[in-house]
């Protein structure tokens, strides 16, 4: 599979722990779960952030998704804690 560029966004404590609000990565990941694995391999900071995946939500191209969501023709993936609006 050819690698692609994906913009990744981080919000709330996920943003603080990763240490940035966004980045663009070159990836071969075919699902969100594979992207998470790639990030964890890249830097220990991601290992800490993604240690408990029950505390992480994901949106793929601005739509709430999950770890099994495929990354086909995807431009933007966002990771964040469970929402606390209202």
């Amino acid at each position: 599979m050819n690698s692609m560029k994906i913009k990744i966004l981080y919000f709330a404590w996920v943003r603080e722990q990763v240490g940035r609000s966004k980045e663009t990565v070159e990836t071969n990941a075919s699902t969100v779960a594979e992207l998470v694995d790639e990030l964890i391999c890249r830097d220990a900071a991601y290992g800490a952030v993604f240690k408990d995946l029950s505390q992480i939500k994901v949106a793929v191209d601005q739509e709430l998704s999950d770890l099994n969501t495929p990354l086909i023709d995807v431009l933007e993936v966002a990771f964040f804690p469970p929402m606390t609006g209202g």
């Binding site: 739509e63 804690p81 929402m83 609006g85 209202g86």
Partner: protein, 151 residues
């Protein structure tokens, strides 16, 4: 149907008044207003962060779903972000329907969607202490319970 995401304060009574003048078939408006709570008494302010590219899409989607599901004439949501002090108004929803039952249920459903699915995050700042507000499991349960309800 309208959704607004803004940093600035707004006037609830003016919003209700503007909303009501555009209605025709409705006999009921239900509104909910969320304000900054200071349970500990030591809160300086909260900071609300959101995901701009997603927030408006999500709020419009929830509001449209609510209108269809509860046969509302109209509904709106206003949600603020940025720095807010205790007692400041964070957000409001309003629903309008021919009869009160649908207006109440619609407002509750819309709030349950917002609580667990709209991309907002609150951080509480008290002196030098900062803490992200944790999502309540009860909010998720309440949202899921709608899947088993019929109207």
């Amino acid at each position: 149907m309208a959704v607004r995401i803004q940093r600035t304060a707004f006037d609830v009574s003016k919003e209700i008044s503007n909303f009501s003048t555009k209605l025709g078939a409705s006999g009921a408006i239900v509104t909910f207003t969320g304000i900054v709570r200071n349970e500990s008494g030591t809160l300086d302010h909260i900071i609300i962060e959101h995901y701009p590219a997603m927030t408006e899409i999500a709020l419009k989607n929830f509001t449209e779903q609510t209108i269809v599901r509860f046969k509302l004439e109209d509904a709106f949501v206003i949600h603020r972000y940025g720095i807010l002090k205790p007692t400041e108004i964070i957000m409001m929803v309003a629903t309008a329907a021919p009869h009160r039952q649908d207006a109440f249920a619609g407002a509750q459903f819309l709030m349950d969607c917002l609580k667990s699915r709209a991309p907002f995050w609150k951080k509480e700042v008290s002196g030098v202490q900062e803490e992200w507000v944790k999502a309540r499991a009860k909010d998720e349960v309440e949202l899921e319970s709608w899947e088993h309800k019929f109207n």
